[in-house]
């Protein structure tokens, strides 16, 4: 049976392992497209995609835009500031107006958990979640999975620990879903104030000390510490955070095996991660960025599927 992703990509929580593997396998050939002299294939020619970003983003937006352009789609970027959104238009009205201009897909980032799913149920276009509140950031988790698979040759059975602000992190949530579905063991490590209550119910192991996480893990995915967390009293100070939770070469030296280091970016060097680790031999942080474009190309390609009635017509015509 052929596997399909359906209309939208909202999160990994409700995806099957087969669907996740389909995206990762499809991303493989797309890596090569970005190495070509002409980094462009005509797969999405004539498709119009709107990147609707209600929250600031550099990396994710650029990564989506490269993916779209390398597939030959036409793209429009809409940022919340300076658009009708700042005049009080609702999310659905914004999207319906865009749809009235005959678009095919919407990539949305929004501060509210559930915004992408909400939109997907209300418009005909494909919707791709580029991060919604504290809910999910599926393409980030998919590129993390691809990077882990590249580095270790597999995901099943690996021990992957998410370090830091799991409470506010949609990246962590999507990673936990994706990793557990593909058979990895998932750990979380960070201050109690930044851990969701009942996190073990997701099937993950909580490590109260970074040293224990390092002793256990094959892969550390170091989450970004949002600096405003300090102002809100989740952590006492950045210096203390570094001292207690920072991923440093001294701590990694005690590990029985080399640990793959990941970070979704943007990094706070000297807070959650030491520069010598971020730039060290086991860091795959820039591979994550490269893989991000390939994974997003795969998602766009798979979602922009064809119209079944035309497929039937093509079959009747006896095409090869």
């Amino acid at each position: 049976m052929t596997i399909s992703l359906g209309k939208d990509l909202i999160g990994l929580e409700h995806m099957t392992p087969e669907q996740i593997r389909l995206i990762l396998d499809t991303a493989e050939p797309f890596k090569e497209v970005s190495e070509r002299p002409i980094k462009k294939v005509p797969a999405l020619r004539g498709k119009t995609i709107v990147n609707l970003f209600f929250e600031a983003s550099t990396r994710t937006r650029i990564s989506f835009e490269f993916a779209e352009k390398r597939l030959s789609a036409d793209t429009v970027n809409v940022a919340a500031t300076g658009s009708s959104v700042s005049k009080g238009e609702t999310l659905v009205d914004t999207a319906r107006n865009l749809e009235a201009m005959r678009i095919d897909m919407v990539v949305i980032r929004h501060g509210s958990s559930g915004a992408a799913g909400f939109l997907g149920q209300r418009i005909r276009s494909n919707v791709i979640n580029a991060g919604d509140g504290k809910h999910e950031h599926p393409t980030q988790a998919l590129l993390d999975l691809l990077t882990i698979r590249d580095k270790h040759g597999k995901i099943e059975g690996l021990k992957v620990c998410l370090v830091g602000d799991v409470l506010h992190s949609r990246v962590a949530r999507s990673n936990i879903w994706g990793l557990t579905k593909l058979g990895a063991h998932v750990g979380v490590c960070g201050p109690h104030t930044l851990m969701p209550r009942g996190i073990e119910e997701l099937g993950v192991t909580f490590f109260p000390r970074i040293e224990e996480a390092i002793e256990w893990a094959d892969v550390l995915n170091v989450l970004r510490l949002q600096l405003e967390r300090m102002e809100k009293g989740f952590i006492p100070s950045l210096r203390e955070y570094y001292r207690v939770w920072g991923v440093t070469p001294e701590r990694l030296e005690r590990s029985p095996r080399p640990i793959t280091i990941m970070h979704p970016g943007p990094m706070n060097r000297g807070v959650e991660i030491d520069s010598r680790v971020a730039d060290g031999p086991h860091s795959v942080i820039l591979d994550q960025v490269t893989n991000g474009v390939a994974v997003r190309m795969a998602v766009l390609y798979l979602l922009a599927g064809g119209r079944p009635e035309l497929a039937d017509a093509a079959k009747r015509g006896g095409a090869e």
Binding site: E28, E32, P37, G305, G306, P308, A311, A313, G318
Partner: protein
């Protein structure tokens, strides 16, 4: 019940490939020669042809593979997305004499896509087309330069090429 006619068995396929290898050398020489197989079975056939040429001419033939899925003209019309295979070309193809290798030539649409894709990698000096089976039925003005066997077929019929590397045997059947 579909009826099956054997077009080529293993020894006949070996003879045919050997003849095709000779025809490629006669047409293109070996200077700057690059064989590029079209996924899937074209890749295996290109491998075989390259080995045959290398053995008879005592040269080394660079090999490439091309997946044309992303260049298909019916991509927005077909249902679930087809799997995309690997594309890899051996270095610079600008100035090379490229021979595209595929198992079956039918409508010509695959070859059209392959030509477009190759053009995005560079400007070869010449591109030739080499197919094991030409079954007629072209929908585009495309012809092969080297053909293993020509077969007249109708739209309800199918040519099935099997190669040892993927299918465990070498044979070509016409299925009605």
């Amino acid at each position: 019940m579909p009826s099956v006619t054997r077009l080529l068995d293993a020894p006949a396929m070996a003879r045919t490939l050997s003849g095709m290898a000779g025809a490629i050398v006669e047409r293109c020489g070996t200077e700057g020669l690059v064989l590029v197989g079209i996924q899937r079975r074209g890749v295996e056939l290109a491998n075989r042809l390259a080995k045959l040429i290398e053995r008879s001419q005592d040269v080394s033939i660079p090999l490439g593979k091309l997946d044309i899925t992303l260049y298909r003209d019916d991509l927005s019309a077909i249902g679930p997305r087809p799997r995309v295979g690997e594309t890899s070309l051996p270095g610079e193809i600008a100035g090379a004499s490229v021979v595209l290798v595929d198992d079956v030539l039918y409508t010509g649409r695959t070859v059209r896509a392959a030509l477009d894709e190759l053009a995005d990698f560079g400007r070869p000096k010449r591109i030739s087309l080499c197919v094991l089976i030409d079954r007629g039925g072209r929908e585009l003005p495309i012809q092969a330069d080297v053909v293993g066997q020509q077969v007249k077929t109708g739209p309800g019929e199918r040519v099935e090429v099997q190669v040892d590397e993927l299918d465990g045997r070498d044979q070509v059947d016409l299925v009605r």
